[in-house]
Symmetry: C2
Subunit: 105 residues, 2 copies
């Protein structure tokens, strides 16, 4: 019943298998920033950038960081950076995704 691992992998790969989202990760790696600035940088309408980033965030590929420049007050600006993920894709690793935990060990 270990279809979870492969399904989770498909989700993650789907998130990264998109030119906009891939570029977002690259841009946030170079310099963490908020959605508004990211949208401008990539010449995207804000709602689209928001949706794409939200997808990455929900899968944990990108995280919110608190690096507030504005010293006082509640932070109205949210900065994002890529998480520290590492996905390795080889035939063997892909095969492992479909193996049950018991027969994995």
């Amino acid at each position: 019943m270990n279809e979870n691992k492969s399904r989770e992998m498909v989700k993650i790969l789907k998130a990264l298998a998109n030119p906009v989202r891939l570029k977002m990760v690259a841009s946030l790696y170079e310099k963490p920033k908020n959605v508004y600035v990211l949208a401008k940088e990539l010449s995207l309408p804000y709602p689209l950038a928001y949706l794409h980033l939200d997808g990455l965030k929900k899968l944990g590929l990108v995280k919110e960081i608190r690096e507030e420049k504005k010293v006082e007050g509640l932070p109205t600006v949210k900065y994002y950076a890529p998480s520290d993920f590492k996905i390795v894709l080889t035939p063997i690793e892909i095969h492992r995704l479909f193996k049950k935990k018991e027969e994995m060990k």
Copy 2:
């Protein structure tokens, strides 16, 4: 002008970001087989299996192998196996996809 690398990566990730195709790679890793048998194993109509495998083949993720059991005659049966690929996805690697060759070195 190095948008080639990221575009190629998106293509490859799209190919693997699908439950059917991911399972195909896993199945062919376990034991190389032809499309007809693969279709049966995965309970897919042949044309669908054919299309999915064709996608993997065109990207070089799967290759045709000549391991003919039928000694005589031209091989009417085509066997497939995964290629020896390795794709590593980290924020750094993704960032590199968008760097020009010159500034790469």
